[in-house]
């Protein structure tokens, strides 16, 4: 099939049919921020940080496929402010204590906070009474930090198709949970994979922490998105 031509922020881009706007932008050196989108997983469009404007409508760029002649706005001031507001909302809806979180420096939410120069959120802190679940042998699950991106729900699946993680409750009571029976059979490798897939510090591997020295962490010297474009 022939390539599709679209424009993103005025730049003419080539993309493959069926490709998402996020992936097409990435291939053309344009960074559109993502949190719930994760390589190898089917896009879910849960976090909306990748929101772009297509033909005057706001769309999630991770779930919207490219179209011929599509005109995409991504880096406009209003959209960037909207993204910043989403980052702020994610911070106030959880209990994020970056100073002692072992994901600090590797955390995508923190990195986006820096990208958007978030100082004081415009929304009041909700201080939810979240819990931790440390009862499984390999995983320390800190619900205070979960942004409900569903990466773990989609990614941590047993060979027979069972999900290790899932969401409980509805609305503002929604919380991440772990299947204790399945989690008890997790290997170190599976636990590490689950931790790596979490964009924040909600899923931690037990007994090891802070092993990567400051200066060598993912975002210590390379701000998020700098490997793709501005």
């Amino acid at each position: 099939m022939a390539d599709i031509t679209l424009t993103i922020d005025g730049k003419t881009c080539k993309a493959k049919p069926g490709q998402s706007i996020v992936d097409a932008a990435k291939e053309n050196g344009i960074y559109i921020p993502v949190l719930c989108n994760y390589e190898g997983l089917k896009p879910a469009g849960t976090c909306r940080i990748c929101t772009v404007r297509v033909g005057g409508r706001f769309m999630a760029a991770c779930t919207t496929p490219v179209g011929e002649g599509m005109i995409v706005e991504s880096g406009t001031p209003d959209i960037e402010d909207m993204r910043k507001a989403i980052v702020e909302m994610l911070f106030v809806e959880g209990n994020h204590m970056c100073p002692c979180c072992e994901k600090s420096g590797n955390c995508e939410l923190q990195a986006l906070g820096y990208r958007y120069q978030m100082l004081v959120p415009r929304f009041p802190y909700l201080w939810p009474a979240s819990q931790v679940d440390a009862s499984t042998p390999k995983i320390f699950l800190d619900k205070n930090r979960c942004v409900q991106c569903l990466r773990c729900v989609r990614g941590a699946v047993t060979p027979d198709g069972k999900h290790v993680f899932g969401l409980l409750n509805r609305g503002d009571r929604t919380a991440i949970a772990i299947d204790h029976a399945l989690a008890s059979k997790m290997t170190d490798e599976m636990a590490q994979k689950a931790m790596d897939s979490c964009p924040v510090g909600a899923i931690l591997r037990k007994e090891v922490g802070y092993v990567v020295p400051i200066g060598m962490r993912k975002f210590d010297s390379k701000p998020i998105g700098s490997d793709i474009g501005q």
């Binding site: 002692c100 072992e102 931790v132 037990k206 007994e207 090891v208 922490g209 802070y210 092993v211």
Partner: protein
């Protein structure tokens, strides 16, 4: 008419403290108290958190000596991670932590002496408060100020290279360390451009001691007679009795030099040490159980360490230690202002230890972490700049901390600081009709000798105004002064 004098907040200290002095109808001091008036709560925050988080979480107690908390917590967590009680680490893990710790000791002692204490010595207790501060030192004694700043910087750079950040790093992890020292980092300390190299630091530390000894020879009354009272002394010492600021056994001596805690394993500290709560302060009062609450209190910090240690295992500091000990004819030293002398000897010792470590190839090793069968409970002790620091954690079956107990240096020194305040208040205030700024500063000087770092027990940082209130017997304010 009886009256109450309040010094609040105490200045040129880290943290928020208050002093109250009650005077009776005859104008005599009837009671003094040094209060810690804010509450921290870290022992509660720690509950429920994973044990490997403790060295990073709990160091947030303090922005001045976070390394001490980082390492004390790490040593306690080592025990839980099965890495032994201070001697099971790999050579690289152990020595990198020591380098971090002595870097911290070096920068903190430099800060304490040059920034916080030297103004009192250079300008006098009655000196103009407008210049009796670090800015005044910079204006009037530039060389000394530059040395203070650069020595602090050198120590901070050591911390950066070992912990990843100058303040609140992550270097110490359960059972070891997360990085070694690169050859480039090592060489920057050994051969750095003047003055930031270890030889200059050793030389400047010697210079600071010479400065103090010269000052001492001209101001014997202040240094020898200010806040002198009998005390027990407690610290870690190496198993052979040497001064060791990172690891050892617990030793305490009484005011006559008799060992009252004979080189015991600090994992059993609860057998020997109790903590008393008094209603007027958020800070507890630790004591040696064998002597009871009344007589069991003890001093920690440089003065105590040089009272408990038999010798210093580096040559230049040992030579100074011998001069220092000869001054009291080998007896226990209870002179509060000699805390500064002892501190400067430790400053020199730290520089020597850093030099030795930098020349040790183990720092470039790759075996960073040791592990073994997990335990449920661990105690970690280090000698922080201001004194012995206890961290104690117990975890549940899910690796969560269920109990944390911290006895910080400031807490250990609680009763001695109260004693010093009482001594100085009686000496300076008794029978005086007018309360001068210099008199109030003398009370603060007594606290500064022990501990300008109340952050472990309090939150407020920075320079704050000193306020004094004269209250009549009925609580009516008679006079109020503020600076």
């Amino acid at each position: 008419m009886s009256r109450k004098i309040t010094i609040e907040p105490v200045t040129r200290v880290e943290g928020h403290g208050k002093v109250t002095i009650h005077m009776d109808d005859a104008g005599k001091v009837s009671q003094t108290r040094f209060h810690i008036v804010e509450f921290r709560g870290f022992e509660r925050f720690a509950q429920g958190r994973p044990y490997w988080e403790m060295p990073v979480l709990v160091q947030r107690l303090c922005g001045i000596c976070p390394v001490s908390h980082h390492l004390a917590a790490a040593k306690a967590i080592d025990v839980i991670a099965g890495a032994g009680t201070g001697e099971g680490l790999t050579p690289t893990g152990e020595k990198m932590r020591r380098l971090m710790h002595y870097g911290q000791m070096f920068q903190s002692h430099a800060l304490h002496f040059f920034h916080l204490v030297s103004p009192d010595l250079l300008f006098g207790a009655d000196g103009d408060p407008a210049i009796r501060n670090v800015i005044g030192v910079a204006l009037m004694h530039k060389d000394l100020a530059v040395q203070g700043v650069m020595m602090r910087k050198f120590g901070q750079e050591i911390i950066l290279a070992t912990a990843g950040k100058k303040i609140h790093g992550t270097g110490a992890i359960p059972g070891g360390i997360n990085k070694n020292l690169s050859v480039a980092e090592r060489d920057s300390f050994l051969k750095g451009a003047d003055p930031l190299n270890i030889e200059k630091m050793v030389s400047w530390a010697q210079g600071a001691l010479d400065f103090f000894k010269d000052y001492h020879s001209k101001n014997k009354e202040l240094i020898d007679d200010f806040a002198v009272f009998p005390s027990n002394h407690l610290s870690l010492v190496r198993k052979d009795g040497a001064l060791d600021l990172y690891h050892g056994v617990l030793r305490a001596v009484d005011t006559d030099g008799k060992k009252i805690l004979n080189d015991v394993d600090y994992q059993d500290y609860l057998t020997y040490i109790g903590e008393e709560v008094r209603s007027w302060s958020y800070m507890k009062f630790p004591y040696l159980k064998s002597l009871g609450k009344e007589k069991g209190w003890y001093t920690v910090g440089p003065l105590a360490r040089l009272n408990t240690a038999d010798f210093i295992p580096t040559p230049l500091a040992q030579k100074e230690f011998e001069i220092y000990k000869a001054y009291t004819k080998g007896k226990v030293n209870n002179m509060s202002m000699h805390m500064h002398w002892a501190r400067l000897i430790e400053l020199l010792h730290s520089a020597e230890v850093i030099r030795d470590l930098l020349n040790d190839k183990d720092l470039q090793g790759d075996n960073l972490v040791a592990k073994g069968p997990k335990k449920k409970e661990g105690v970690g002790l280090v000698e922080a700049p201001r004194g012995t620091l206890f961290h104690h954690y117990r975890v549940n079956d899910n690796d969560q901390v269920e109990m944390a107990n911290l006895i910080v240096s400031t807490t250990n020194n609680n009763e001695p600081m109260n004693q010093a305040v009482n001594y100085v208040a009686n000496w300076a205030f008794n029978g005086k009709k007018e309360i001068t700024e210099g008199m109030m500063n003398r009370v603060e000087m007594a606290i500064r000798a022990y501990d300008p770092c109340l952050s472990c027990a309090t939150h407020a940082l920075g320079q704050m105004p000193l306020e004094i209130e004269l209250l009549g017997a009925g609580g009516i304010m008679l006079d109020r002064k503020r600076r």
